[in-house]
Amino acid sequence: MRPIYILHEGQTKNEDNELLELLINHLSKEITEINPDMIEYHAMGGKSNFFKTEMYPKLLTQGVETDVVQKVLFIIDADYKKNDKVYGGFENTQNKINVIIEQLNFQAVSSVYIMHDPRIENKDGYLESFILSTIPEQQKNCIECFLACSQFQSKENHKKILNQIYKLAYPNAPYDFSHSYFNDLKTKLTQLFAESE
């Protein structure tokens, strides 16, 4: 079994997973302690699954109990407070995820990174808006303008379109990991390897 678990939204091999794998591989070239083979990615499905103890795999819960799993990183979208007053928004997400970490008895091994748009003061947003925040201003404005004019208002449609446009526009250099907005996530990921065996 692998000692580090990263829990992310969506299905296996989705955009969340792709971004994380690329970033980990990128970091492993710079920091020798970072070993991508130590990580197990677990796709949690929808955000709401993060808040139900029964949605966590037995392999993980028993792995933590027996010290085999030594670090768990929760990566979850903040989403928008206006859309969901209980689970939406950075603060609500942080509070609710802390509750579940306590219920799982994962406090000693857990860390959390909440995906949001760093340009928004209240830290609303999700993975796609975070990625969008890291591309040059002009292209970013074009994409945002298109989305604003489109009739695709639901979150999932919005995310899919955003992701597709992004992939078409930047096929060879998917993410600018040198952007300062990636620094917090890089720190979280690097910390996973401190004291992991």
Partner: protein, 321 residues
């Protein structure tokens, strides 16, 4: 939905003292149980502890089980004398376990030049002075262990006789043929187990170890009707391409013979094959128990039922060894 566990099946076990185990517990066993873990974590010792627990229905059977596991480990086929047998029995100084099938305890106590063998079987205690201990070994016919590369000729012949008594030779030959279609049939000729290929019978020892191991498993599945079969290092000598077929036969025959299986492995391919075939046959009466060591170096378990196994191995592709 998982079928209810059959009454005689081992459901859980706690091992207080035995070899590498102190205060160990494992649960969630089903009809077919795969035990994983790194080398030297205690997989074989765990199976031995389960074997002793289910076999110890009285003092003689308990002594037989304790002696038997040593005999298998040391690969001894014959008892030369009571003194030799006693030496092997004495290598296990203490065994304490409890399961849904009962409490089984054994210890050797030496004090003031008096040596005593203490047995506690389901709270019935018996203390025997070493001078009065009579070694009447008697094995239970439908509880068997298969170690590394399968049974020796003698054990195969005995098991084959039991298959003959059940008139199951043709079924057995079908299973052997499904595993290796170049083998037409199995027979005991004289005192040698033989397999027929290209119209000619050849001694089983002329074939690879995998065939002996495989044939031992098939024979044991028939021999252990309504009993238990413990298979150590199940993948030994078995070629990767044959793993799925082996599990298909184990799942099918163990259901037919109502036999509970415990098998150890550290092979990733074996574990993946186990999950894959369970899914294909929708065989939910299975469990996977991973033995691990925690920070205090105590042996603990991670136990997955069918749903968890499917989610971790098949859906998420997680490493579960």
């Amino acid at each position: 939905m998982t079928a209810p566990i059959t009454a005689h099946f081992l459901d859980y076990i706690t091992i207080k003292q035995f070899k590498c185990f102190t205060n160990f517990e494992a649960s969630g066993f089903k009809r077919v149980n795969l035990i994983g873990g790194k080398n030297n974590v205690g997989k074989t010792a765990f199976m031995e502890a389960c074997y002793i627990n289910v076999h110890s229905v009285d003092v003689n059977k308990m002594m037989t089980a304790i002696y038997g596991i040593k005999q298998i480990r040391e690969k001894i086929n014959l008892i030369f004398s009571d003194i030799d047998a006693l030496k092997f029995l004495d290598t296990t100084r203490v065994y304490i376990s409890k399961s849904n099938l009962g409490k089984k305890e054994f210890s050797i106590v030496e004090k003031d030049a008096v040596k005593e063998y203490k047995f506690n079987i389901n709270d019935e205690q018996k203390i025997i002075n070493a001078r009065e201990l009579s070694l009447n070994f008697s094995a239970i016919y439908n509880i068997k262990i298969i170690d590394n590369f399968g049974w020796n000729d003698l054990a195969l012949i005995k098991a084959y006789q039991s298959i003959q008594k059940q008139d199951k030779e043709s079924e057995l030959n079908e299973c052997v043929n499904e595993f290796d279609n170049s083998i037409e049939s199995f027979k005991v000729i004289g005192d040698k187990p033989q397999c027929k290929t290209n119209g000619e019978y050849r001694d089983i020892s002329e074939f690879g170890d995998g065939l002996r191991h495989y044939i031992s498993i098939i024979f044991a599945l028939y021999a252990c009707e309504n009993g238990y079969l413990f298979i150590d290092e199940i993948d030994n000598g078995i070629y990767y391409d044959h793993l799925d077929r082996l599990w298909e036969i184990i799942f099918t025959l163990s259901k037919k013979t109502n036999c509970q299986i415990f098998a150890t492995t550290h092979s990733k391919e074996m574990l993946e094959s186990f999950a894959r075939v369970a899914k294909k046959l929708n065989e939910q009466d299975v469990s996977y128990t991973l033995l691990v060591k925690n920070k205090q170096q105590e042996i603990k378990t991670i136990s997955l039922d069918y749903d968890s196994l499917m989610d971790s191995v098949i859906n998420q592709g997680h490493e579960v060894r």
